[in-house]
Amino acid sequence: MADATLGQIFLATVLANNFVLAMFLGLCPFIGVSGRLNTALPMGAATSFVMLVASLCAYGLNWLVTTFELEFLRLISYIVIIASAVQLVEMVLKKYSPALFRALGIYLPLITTNCAILGVALFQTAREYSLAQALVFSLGGGAGFTLALLLMAGLRERLNLASVPNVVQGTALSLMLAGLLSLAFMGFAGLGAGE
């Protein structure tokens, strides 16, 4: 896995191993925020950005932790760095783009507990990616997350106009939809690096 080319890694993480639909990472925002198209896009963008920052920090931290043989501290240091990264993004956004800051609202701090972010950090460590590979991996992960969120939001906006039986409404329906999307994404299996 460690010798896959950058293009392969990117394609594989966006489509074949899509974070949400194939690896079940970041499901909470996927179900929670995918109600409308105009909140889905900024959410995807913010998550992608934090993912990139977290991936960079995690790479440095992993080097530090392995050099000093403190592997048992890896998880704790990762989660602390992610929380700080989110805080940083929040402060920067508040200062330079108050409009976007307000649009994202509560979802911004909640990115800390998005497992897709910690997932990026953990998977890039497990697969022993180099720095360039790790960055491309996180970019692909962010793009894939945004794609899944947008597709789902589009579908759910259409569903609002349909008449759905009472029993099926709510999360059950979203999960069924996600299942169908996931089935469709399985068509990409084997694309890029594959497994």
Binding site: C28, I79, V80, L118, F123, L175
Partner: protein, 220 residues
């Protein structure tokens, strides 16, 4: 199940709350990522449930003991560090007990840190109650989560591999539904369980015409 509308919750009610009335998987729909990712077999599901319950118990106890010491401003960060500590313990524990299981669960053991159930319990319950009560509540939640995972894992294993706990159920002629152990199967099975629970809740007020709804609810 639990008696509704009681003012003073007994410990038993507190315990049952997590299992039934506020089941984390089926009612609150929390902690979905591990719930769907690792439940390809009943054994994996039980192991994941046990690991999560341990973290839930440990963090609830510690948060509850320290609830008067932790400053309000940094409470979330403190909770996360406490949770991460227990997850690290579980991570090493599983690796020591069964390497096979450790590899099957993979990064998802470490991802327990960001399981919203645990942080949610720490913030909403353990930080406001005495240790005894917090532990009972955490135990109920953990058991509820484990039951939820088991319900997913066993259904997916039965259909996807024709086995339960590795024991073949249907004989050699059974054609496994491979899709059930693949990612879409996870979504479908959880969706089907939620449909079942929706139907159960909708059925209570209008008990007169359940027959035609049953058919829809059992479709996966």
């Amino acid at each position: 199940m639990a008696i509704p509308g009681q003012k003073q919750l007994t410990s038993m009610d507190e315990f049952l709350e997590g299992i039934w009335k506020q089941n984390p998987v089926f009612v609150m729909v929390l902690g979905l990522c591990p719930a769907l990712a690792v439940t390809v077999s009943a054994v994996n599901a039980l192991a994941m449930g046990a690991a999560t319950t341990f973290v839930l118990l440990g963090s609830a106890l510690l948060v509850s003991l320290m609830r008067n010491v932790i400053p309000k401003e940094v409470r979330i960060a403190t909770y996360i560090v406490i949770i991460a500590t227990f997850v690290t313990i579980v991570d090493y524990l599983i690796a020591a007990i069964s390497l096979e299981l450790y590899e099957a669960l993979g990064a998802f053991i470490q991802l327990i840190v960001v399981n919203c159930i645990i942080l949610g319990r720490a913030e909403a319950h353990a930080s406001k109650h005495a240790p005894g009560r917090a532990v009972i509540n955490a135990l109920g939640m953990g058991l509820g989560f484990t039951i939820g995972l088991f319900a997913l894992g066993s259904v997916r294993e039965i259909f996807g591999a024709g086995t339960l706990f590795g024991v073949p159920l249907f004989g050699p002629d059974f054609q496994p539904w491979v899709v059930m152990v693949l990612p879409p199967g996870g979504f479908f099975v959880l969706g089907a369980w939620l449909l079942l629970f929706n139907w159960w809740r909708n059925r209570k007020p209008a008990a007169s015409e359940p027959a035609n709804v049953v058919r829809e609810a059992s479709h996966g």
